[in-house]
């Protein structure tokens, strides 16, 4: 157990030390997977269906805020669908507008679900989205899970239904639109994953807030089991043709990823590190504020509290070049205490 804790501390120290680089790499990998998935599922516009373009966009996303992945991903989906057909593009635009107007304007941070869920589905780990949404988000995250699932099946229906129709030369706009909408609404797998996604995100959210020991682990465990059961049972009842071994494997991997999320977001709350810079008359302050949730290696784990505000502040101070104070380099070897006592003695005499 102590080896585990030491390993955990070492990992956290490594992350702490190279946080900026690790975040860049993680954002790059996420953006790369998302854009690659979009190109693989759609890929109708040759101009952007290119590994070089995907690499450049992923590199851009690595240095930009996380929301850039959503913006670029959304634009790529729109361009691909417009390349396939005007009606498909317009319908995609309407769906995106509806998503924003009816939901995402209240929770803009959840927009990431729109692009991450299709990526998770295509990698074969759809369970990771409801699990992490339940752990990190609120009850409204269940709606984000629904919208993300809708996005994946929308792309799938375009590929399965509209692409063959277009290839066959059927350009009846109205018929194509009806086929597209019917294809989504009558997709049983979409309904199954939407039901299980909503149920699991709510279950995980409720359990991880319970004031019991290891609530997060319990939430992840129960979430994984209920995801498998709900998906398998409702899939069998509705005849959605969901492969159970694939589902099991995907859920195990999803559980592992959820544990990693727990590791970073609970144990040290390293996701909320802030690098600040401010100054006063004498100093420039370069402060790294780490939310204090990390346990000491020798102590037991503290009770899980969500609203701790104490911060472990690490300060790297640099002095204003024009300020001449006793902390300047030139005075480092002067013993001021000794000099003060000597001068006071001289005055007394």
């Amino acid at each position: 157990m102590s080896t585990m804790l030491e390993w955990k501390e070492k990992t956290l120290d490594f992350y702490d030390k190279y946080r900026q680089y690790v975040q860049l790499i993680l954002k790059f990998v996420l953006a790369f997977i998302v854009f690659l998935t979009i190109n693989r599922e759609l890929g109708y516009l040759q101009l952007i269906d290119n590994l070089f373009v995907v690499l450049i966009l992923a590199l851009l996303c690595a240095i930009l805020p996380l929301s850039a992945i959503v913006v670029f991903g959304g634009i790529m989906i729109l361009l691909h669908t417009f390349a396939l057909g005007l009606e498909v593009g317009v319908l995609t635009l309407i769906f995106f507008l509806l998503m924003y107007l009816l939901f995402f304007r209240f929770t803009p941070k959840d927009t990431l679900a729109v692009v991450i869920t299709p990526a998770a589905f295509s990698v074969g780990i759809p369970g990771v989205i409801p699990l992490t949404a339940g752990l990190l988000g609120g009850p409204a995250s269940a709606i984000s899970v629904c919208i993300g699932t809708f996005c994946y099946y929308y792309l799938k229906v375009i590929k399965k239904v509209i692409k063959p129709v277009k290839k066959a030369g059927n350009n009846d706009i109205l018929v194509n639109l009806q086929k597209l909408i019917d294809g989504i609404l009558n997709n049983k797998a979409f309904l199954v994953f939407m039901i299980s996604g909503v149920a699991v995100s709510v279950i995980v959210y409720v359990i991880h807030r319970l004031s019991v020991k290891y609530a997060w682990y319990l939430a992840i465990g129960v979430g994984c089991v209920s995801y498998v059961i709900i998906t398998a049972v409702s899939g069998a009842v509705m005849g959605a043709g969901i492969s159970v071994p694939k589902l099991l494997l995907g859920t195990v991997v999803s559980g592992g990823i959820a544990l990693i999320v727990d590791f970073f977001c609970f144990n040290a709350d390293y996701s909320n590190i802030e690098s600040l810079q401010y100054e006063d008359d004498s100093y420039f302050y370069y402060v790294k504020a780490v939310p204090k949730k990390r346990s000491d290696m020798t102590n037991e784990r503290p009770a899980r509290e969500t609203n701790k505000t104490n911060k472990n502040i690490k300060i790297d101070k640099r002095m204003d070049e024009n300020t001449d104070t006793d902390r300047s380099g030139g005075y480092s070897d002067v013993n001021f205490r000794e000099k003060l006592e000597k001068s006071l003695d001289d005055i007394d005499r």
Binding site: I94, L97, L98, L101, L102, R105, F106, L174, L177, Q178, I181, D182, E274, L276, Q277, Y278, D280, Y283, Y285, V287, A289, K311, I313, I315, K317, L340, S343, L344, I347
Partner: protein, 143 residues
């Protein structure tokens, strides 16, 4: 001199400025009723646009049915259903918007008040430190 208390305070202030200043200060400039009123007005426009888009989608799905039974369609009940649907959607979203904007306003006010209190505290700390520095001047008290 570096003071841990002062640095903690400055860190809190800087965190607020980095994370929430733009949004919270903007919100706290309004009166509560004005802020909620503006939010509800925005909500009215967004819900109207969304409802038009939803109607468009429904009409595309039902186009065959509509064309086939065009002569049998009674327009008065249909219009009534559309208006009732719009009012229900608008009412539901207005309630949600009211609750969310009230909570946001309360949070913003509280955040800005704490920020201003911390600023005053910091000012007092600086004054106290500068006063102490004057008293501690070498030989200053002994002459």
């Amino acid at each position: 001199m570096i003071s841990k208390e002062r640095i903690a305070l400055m860190t809190d202030l800087s965190l607020f400025e980095k994370r929430e200043e733009k949004r919270y200060l903007r919100i706290s400039k309004y009166y509560r009723s004005d802020y909620i009123g503006i939010s509800l007005l925005k909500n009215f426009f967004t819900v109207t646009i969304a409802y038009v888009l939803i109607l468009l989608l429904i009409s595309i799905c039902e186009m065959d049915h509509v064309m086939y039974k065009l002569s049998e369609i009674k327009f008065r009940p249909l219009t009534l259903r559309m208006v009732v649907g719009y009012i229900l959607l608008l009412a539901a979203y207005s309630v949600i918007t009211y609750i969310i904007s009230s909570v946001r306003y309360k949070e913003a006010k509280k955040g800005v008040e704490t920020y201003e209190e911390d600023l005053k505290k910091l000012e007092r700390l600086y004054k106290k430190e500068s006063g102490q520095a004057r008293h501690k001047r070498p030989g200053g008290n002994r002459s």
